[in-house]
Amino acid sequence: MDNILTLMTFIPIFGAALILCLPRDRDNLVRWVAVGVTAVPLVLACWLFFNFDRSTAGFQFLQRGQWIPSFNIQYIVGVDGVSITMVLLTAFLSFLCIFASWGITKAVKAYFALFLLLDAGMMGVFVSLDFFLFFVFWEVMLLPMYFLIGIWGGPRKEYAAIKFFLYTLLGSALMLISILALYFNTTDPATGQHTFDMMVMMDQANHSEWLRNGIIFGQSVPLVIWMALFIGFAIKIPAFPFHTWLPDAHVEAPTAISVILAGVLLKMGTYGILRINFAILPEATATLAFWCLAAVGVVNIVYGALCAMAQSDLKKLVAYSSVSHMGYVMLGMASFTQQGINGAVLQMFNHGTVTAMLFLLVGVIYDRAHHRNIDGFGGLASVMPVYTGFVAVAFFAALGLPGLSAFISEALVLLGSWQANPRLTMVAALAVILSAGYMLWALQRIWLGKLNEKYANIEEVNRREIFTLAPLAALVVYLGIYPTAVLDLMGASLNSLNGVVSKFL
């Protein structure tokens, strides 16, 4: 199974092509083909999970080939502890989101084709180990996202789509310049050529003198490149103050796309920082982490929570809660403790499942009531008990209830970060109060209290919806009790990565 990662990445692309060849008006056929196409990477992901060597920090399932020899651009894919969790998450959420997209009736073929293209792009980003390939997938994923929001979105879809697109593209431009700077200043000792190979870039001995000690714009070169890359990734996370595209994109995107956006796309930002900023520019990371990651992370956590509390649109509330929860990832990785960095990546995974649940749950209610105004409901628990059960699991997971998955990662992040920055951590820990506030307040207004007679006959969650929610709920509970299942995967790689950066503290 040497080509397992290639299969996982390209099967969705072929699936997209296949769907475009299907006859018109066969919407259900299209949907089931999409199910089949996403099921394959999911099965492969399971195989990967069981066959992944947890004891080594290096890359596994590596596959290498020449792509554009004249620029020494290669096709290199592989996974290590940092990326495997994201690969699993992507395969899992993509599969579930096909079912969450069942209600799409407009241009079904195009929707699913674009969705599969998006799937391939996301998978590609996480498995690419050649920087050029990484960038290509990064852009590949952008385009379908733009159309998925812009065509199938809500009332302000055009504005949201273009804002998302331009914002990310701005980051891409900065990233591209950085990539090229890294390319021209990295020499593969084996061939003597410049290279986009990340594994070569990760060895500082291959960096040019300019990249190590040069000055540009009156600043040290590695710091400037670090910042350019960081801004590109920070937009994606999204880190304050680059986060305002997110509430708009989330609110306008169809449910499944919101799930993918929050569940997978946001993680690309933090993944990129770990994979590239941490591994390739460790010294600059050590210098800039406090302000760019820890301090910004705390702002994300607290400011996101405060904004969430003020929202009247449930989906916007969930969107801002993502801003808050992604702050933990930044805070954790900036601590340079094993608890912090493991907690950060675990938080990436757990936020993926919890927020996916939250958006699916918002979708359920929006499909029925056609609005998401928190004050426009009331007492739904009495007519939708099963639905409310899922809501309770997701909301309490989101507010960090011990016993559910997100608690473990948030506690690890805070514990690890305490060692590095106790004052900042104390401020961040205030969010445990705020998150309980906005989550329970929303829960109370929509699901508790007197039943709003308008919704006395609202339909309970159906089987298809339960099929998407139940696996996520099970995972949220399971990983709260047995987080080792995921911690195990990433420990070796993260601890070694942490060691690389810690040397420069």
């Binding site: 305002t244 907690g343 011990p402 805070l414 445990v432 209290g449």
Partner: protein
């Protein structure tokens, strides 16, 4: 010394594998009733639901007894049972397992939780009989039992925190059990959020403790290792203050939340919105004592922080008195008991503050018996009165409800501190420990609170059970004693309330302080900081005359409280109006309205936070996003300007030249369609192009 202690510790642990079932059984019960309860109730009936739910804590009680006797059979220094299930979080130097332990302290707690809890489960089958969501109630109640057992059985701080928050969750769910009432749902949310304020302290304390212990070479969150290595933190400083003082202060913040002390007690009176058995189990007997348990569990650390001890004793005394004053003015029988609980928890914290940990735990236990009995008694009354809780509409109920009356009276005597009922022994010991450890002012405040306790409790007895019945005709006709499922638990609890004191008769009364001795292996290796602590247990048990004087005084004070209550509410020889009318009634109204603390919090903390959230949201929409949209506008304008230049300047010049150039111009114009994607792609391609060009 350290090495020998360490060696002794290694030998002291006995690994057993049945402990896990004590918490797991109720969890299984919760899972069955929570997931399949609706089906079971419909097809098999409520009896099956109740049977499953009651069996779990009762089986747990049997296992707890087994653990207790196993411990009792061991040498006191070896009394620790451990059951490790599986690794939980192993990251870096943090190694935490899902593991349960039972030592003498935990043994007391699990016997209370499963014993009293089991009785309350049985009682609930009667009390909740007409409830449509019967299954949901019992699922929550079982889940609570699981969480509470996890809290006291966890062998490390993180597992304890799982229980700590778990009981908060169940409390939330049960306070808001009848969630269709907005007020109930609000009370639930309030309880959870206020508790989260405390959790903030708990979490920070945990982090600080872990890294401080790492500093001295022993990173750990395991209780037995904290007890062992905690003393190494002596002299360790953090932020310029003693680390241990800071840790214990933050822990105490956590305790004020869960155990309803000033300033975080406000959620508990509102928590009475839940079904009454819930008030008895969660908001009197078990959950609210979690803070007391936590301090006892970490007594090594608290013993090293006399400054924290002083704060705890002061807050405890203030809470005991303050809540007691409110208790004297309430008319809702459950509210009286709620404030009484807050007040009694204050007593427990006095004990913890002055280092008399065993005494605090002893009061925790006796309080669990008599307060559970009182709450269940009030539930029996409320049940009979068709959910009327106002004591002004009761009166004379002893005629209809003899068992309820008798058990309620016994428990009232216990809480009032009348010998030989249990409360006398536990409360009197707290007062003595406070006095003898040099906290005379705390002692004085506590004695005043004790007098008020006797007063408001007998006030509730007289208003409820004595005199003329003041209810309406319809209610009176239906007055009845509760079924056996409710009265039997009352009788058991009343017996315990009456007799439990004999478990710990002080040396001054020729007893052998057996309960203190039982807890000694857990609570005395800290080496108490407060004077009275060491004297009372160690050495020759010398008894001072002053101890008898104070004992007589506290009985006299309680008797006085009872006398006043009798004069006001039974014989009528004294009118309460004389007190309420004092100084134009203003002081009375202030107390009656709970000193307006809720209003104060609402006006400051809540409104402040809400204002901050609105400011944040405004800032986000108008400033942060405004800059983004502004930047986009600037780019659009610039490109429009560029287009004009292109059309009229560049193109104008070009037009005069050749068609080839004009063709190019046309192409450029076509690019300027306002399609920003196109611009950016052009920009990106240009950048790539430039870079590629540089290569050659």
């Amino acid at each position: 010394m350290q090495d020998t202690a360490h060696a002794a510790h290694q030998a002291a642990i006995h690994t057993v594998s049945y402990l896990r079932w004590i918490p797991l059984l109720p969890l299984i019960g919760a899972a069955i009733n929570g997931l399949g309860g609706a089906w079971i109730q419909k097809h098999l009936g409520k009896k099956v639901i109740g049977g499953i739910a009651c069996a779990m804590p009762l089986l747990g009680f049997l296992l707890s007894l087994r653990a207790f006797f196993q411990l009792a059979g061991l040498d006191p220094a070896e009394r620790t049972l451990l059951d490790t299930m599986f690794p939980w979080i192993h990251v870096g130097n943090l190694n935490v397992d899902v593991a349960f332990q039972v030592d003498p302290l935990t043994a007391v707690m699990i016997l209370i939780i499963t014993g009293v809890g089991g009785l309350i489960h049985i009682y609930s089958t009667g009390y909740m009989h007409d409830e449509p969501a019967y299954w949901r109630y019992f699922a929550y109640l079982n889940l609570f039992t699981f969480a509470m057992l996890t809290l006291v059985m966890g062998d490390n701080l993180l597992i304890m925190f799982v229980g700590w928050e778990g009981v908060g969750l169940c409390s939330y769910a049960l306070i808001g059990f009848w969630y269709s009432e907005w007020a109930n749902a609000s009370a639930g949310s309030k309880a959870f959020i206020v508790n989260r304020v405390g959790d903030f302290g708990f979490m920070c304390a945990t982090f600080l403790l872990f890294w401080s212990l790492a500093d001295v070479g022993h990173p750990t969150l395991l209780f037995r290792e904290i007890a062992e290595y905690g003393p190494l933190l002596e002299g360790h400083m953090f932020w310029g203050v003693s680390t241990v003082t800071l840790i214990t202060m933050l822990m105490f913040v956590g305790a004020t939340g869960k155990s309803a002390q000033i300033p975080l007690y406000v959620w508990l009176p509102d928590a009475m919105a839940g079904p009454t058995p819930v008030s008895a189990l969660i908001h009197a007997a078990t959950m609210v004592t979690a803070g007391v348990y936590m301090i006892a569990r970490l007594n090594v650390l608290f013993g090293m922080a006399p400054a924290t001890g002083a704060v705890i004793a002061t807050v405890g005394a203030a809470t005991a008195f303050f809540a007691a004053t409110i208790g004297t003015t309430q008319f809702d029988i459950k509210k009286v008991l709620a404030y009484s609980t807050v007040s009694q928890l204050g007593f427990m914290f006095i004990a913890m503050g002055v280092g008399a940990y065993a005494t605090g735990v002893f009061h925790l236990m006796t309080h669990a018996f008599f307060k559970a009995c009182l709450f269940l008694g009030s539930g029996s009354v409320i049940h009979a009165m068709h959910h009327e809780q106002d004591m002004r509409k009761m009166g004379g109920l002893k005629k209809w409800m003899p068992y309820t009356y008798a058990t309620y009276l016994i428990s009232t005597l216990a809480i009032a501190g009348i010998p030989p009922f249990s409360g006398f022994f536990s409360k009197d010991e707290i007062l003595w420990k406070a006095f003898s450890s040099g906290h005379q002012f705390v002692w004085f405040v506590a004695v005043c609170a004790a007098a008020l306790t006797a007063f408001y409790m007998f006030r509730s007895v007289y208003m409820t059970f004595d005199g003329e019945n003041r209810s309406d005709e319809h209610t009176r006709e239906h007055l009845h004693e509760s079924p056996f499922s409710m009265t039997v638990p009352l009788m058991v609890l009343a017996s315990l309330a009456a007799l439990a004191g004999f478990l710990n008769v002080p040396h001054a009364l020729f007893g052998d302080a057996r309960f203190d001795a039982w807890l000694a292996p857990v609570l005395e290796h800290g080496g108490g900081h407060a004077g009275g602590h060491g004297d009372a247990h160690g050495g020759g048990h010398h008894v001072e005359v002053i101890e008898y004087v104070l004992m007589v005084l506290s009985i006299a004070v309680a008797a006085a409280g009872i006398f006043v209550a009798r004069a006001m509410y039974k014989t009528g020889s004294m009118s309460p109006d004389r007190l309420t009318g004092l100084a134009g009634g203003k002081p009375y109204r202030t107390v009656f309205n709970k000193y307006y603390v809720d209003e104060f919090y609402d006006a400051t903390v809540i409104r402040g936070t809400l204002a901050l959230t609105r400011v944040s949201a405004w800032f986000d929409t108008n400033i942060v996003d405004g800059i983004v949209n502004g930047a986009a506008w600037v780019v659009r304008m610039a490109s429009a300007f560029n287009g004009l230049v292109d059309r009229y300047v560049v193109d104008g010049a070009v037009n005069g030249v050749a068609t080839v150039t004009s063709l190019v111009g046309g192409r450029v114009r076509r690019l300027q369609t306002g399609n920003i994607n196109a611009y950016l792609y052009v920009a990106v391609i240009a950048v790539v192009g430039m870079m590629v060009a540089r290569m050659w």
